[in-house]
């Protein structure tokens, strides 16, 4: 490791309540779940802080359950647990497909849905699914519970509406009501971070979301409107190009991403017809 251990501290809460009290009383502190993002930064000598809060043992934040018709996924639920979950397989096949594409088995065994959301990378593979399925982020603090629409959760590149004293407790996904679709494009199936990723729901008003085409995951709202109004795929693709803003970076180019975004849109629409 390129960092002295003596500069880092790990706080081990005894319970969720204790963790929330620490978050209220003892800032700044960085919550740690499966560590698949934060330890990459720490190993590179760039820790996101000096004090960390170990959430890994808080089993109250784990598990997938059906509440009425809403699927509630605890923030500490790993991608492997999502892959194995009969509830997720039945109701959220797009999320299961995304979980398979995140890292490889070693990462899926440790990476958590809440961590993917909190990390807030525009390339996070579960995020377009949560955008297209209109998920709700359940935030807990010592003051209580707050529910925020996932589509209003990010305010900019890795910026969210979360307060420092809040934890993501769960992600709630209401009934999806349409055919789900997911596709990730990267250099290889495992480990690669997305060049572009798309999730969508084919419904009377289709819902389409992209990752890696803007500073945050985005819903293609105007594209959805064109398709809902019976517009052609060419018209929808033109609308899409007007509402995504990909950049050149180490993984791909803006031009490639614009072209593949349109290809993915066409693939979604023809494959779910």
């Amino acid at each position: 490791m390129r960092i002295a251990m003596s500069t880092l501290e790990l706080i081990e809460p005894r319970s969720l309540k204790h963790a929330l009290d620490v978050l209220r009383d003892s800032q700044p502190i960085v919550p740690l779940a499966g560590c698949t993002d934060i330890y990459v930064s720490i190993n590179a000598g760039m820790p996101p802080g000096g004090r960390f809060l170990n959430l890994w043992n808080l089993d109250a934040l784990r598990g997938i359950e059906l509440r009425g018709q809403t699927v509630s996924i605890g923030a500490l639920t790993t991608f492997s647990e999502i892959i194995r979950s009969p509830v997720a397989q039945k109701r959220l096949p797009a999320l299961v497909a995304a979980a398979w594409e995140i890292g490889a088995v070693q990462i899926q065994n440790r990476g958590t849905l809440g961590g993917n959301v909190a990390n807030g990378s525009p390339a996070g593979d579960s995020l377009p699914v949560l955008a297209a399925t209109e998920a709700i982020v359940v935030l807990r603090s010592a003051d209580g519970v707050r529910r925020v629409r996932f589509n209003g959760f990010y305010t900019g590149y890795r910026r969210t509406v979360m307060r420092p004293d809040e934890l993501i407790a769960a992600i709630e996904i209401p009934p999806v009501g349409g055919q789900q679709w997911f596709r990730k494009v990267g250099t290889r199936a495992a480990q690669a971070i997305s060049k572009i990723v798309m999730a969508a729901v084919r419904a009377p008003h289709p819902r389409i979301a992209f990752g890696s085409v803007a500073p945050t995951v985005v819903r293609a709202v105007r594209t959805e409107e064109v398709l809902a109004a019976g517009g052609t795929l060419d018209e929808a693709a033109a609308a899409l190009l007007g509402e995504i803003a990909p950049i050149d970076d180490i993984r791909s180019t803006a031009e490639y991403r614009r072209r593949v975004a349109c290809n993915l849109l066409r693939a979604f629409w023809t494959e779910t017809a």
Binding site: W100, Q106, R259, L264
Partner: protein, 214 residues
């Protein structure tokens, strides 16, 4: 801090933020676990944490408290995988081998070739080549005999109506590595289906999408 290491209860004093990888190598003297990339990409540091394959470079020691860790040393040189990696030429320089073997040890019994490819996709080898590694795993699985898959076989993407189709498909029971590999060209189920669908998706969406599996 107390945890179970290769089946024995141990109490190790180390910083809670120290990587499990470093605790194993420096504090426990178990240098079989290797550091490759140090960022969770290469799988050289794969160990089993409560039976699941993890990258030891991404696990803070504090999260190991009370849990069970198994390293390559825990296989005691007698595991079928350790024998078949020798007999089948599954190792050349050997640096990736402990991670490969630990990832393979976490595979379901009766894994298809597709299960093996997916299960080892997070383990990178730059000299042996993967066919010898897959052959070694196949031979070890045949020695060990049958069982049920712990993890569903991978479905590649979502096409069906939510709640009915498009779900991960379990590989057909008893489909061995050879059978799985043989079906990959255009089979009807499990891993074979995935390859068939991948190709057709590529044809429909242009080179860009087809290229991604290369």
């Amino acid at each position: 801090m107390r945890f179970v290491l290769n089946g024995k209860k141990v109490d190790v004093r180390a910083h809670a933020m120290k990587r499990l990888l470093d605790v194993l190598r420096e504090d426990c003297g178990l240098t079989g676990t290797k550091e490759g990339c140090g960022e969770g990409e290469c799988g050289a540091c794969t160990v089993l944490l409560d039976g699941q394959a993890v990258n030891a470079c991404l696990v803070p020691f504090g999260q190991v408290r009370g849990r069970a860790v198994k390293t390559i040393e825990g296989l005691r040189g007698r595991h079928p995988l350790q024998q078949t990696f020798v007999t089948e030429g599954g190792a050349q320089c050997g640096f990736c081998t402990p991670g490969m073997i630990m990832a393979a040890a976490a595979l379901p019994k009766n894994a298809t070739l597709e299960d093996v490819r997916v299960g080892l996709a997070g383990n990178i080898c730059r000299c042996t080549g993967y066919s010898g590694i897959y052959r070694a795993i196949e031979a070890a699985q045949q020695k060990a005999g049958g069982g049920k898959a712990a993890r569903p076989a991978r479905a590649d993407r979502v096409e069906g109506r939510a709640g009915t189709a498009g779900l991960p498909r379990r590989s057909p029971k008893g489909e061995g590595l050879q059978a799985g590999g043989g079906k990959a060209g255009g089979g009807k189920a499990g891993g074979g289906k995935r390859h068939a669908r991948r190709s057709s998706a590529g044809a429909g969406s242009g080179k860009t999408v087809r290229g991604r599996r290369a």
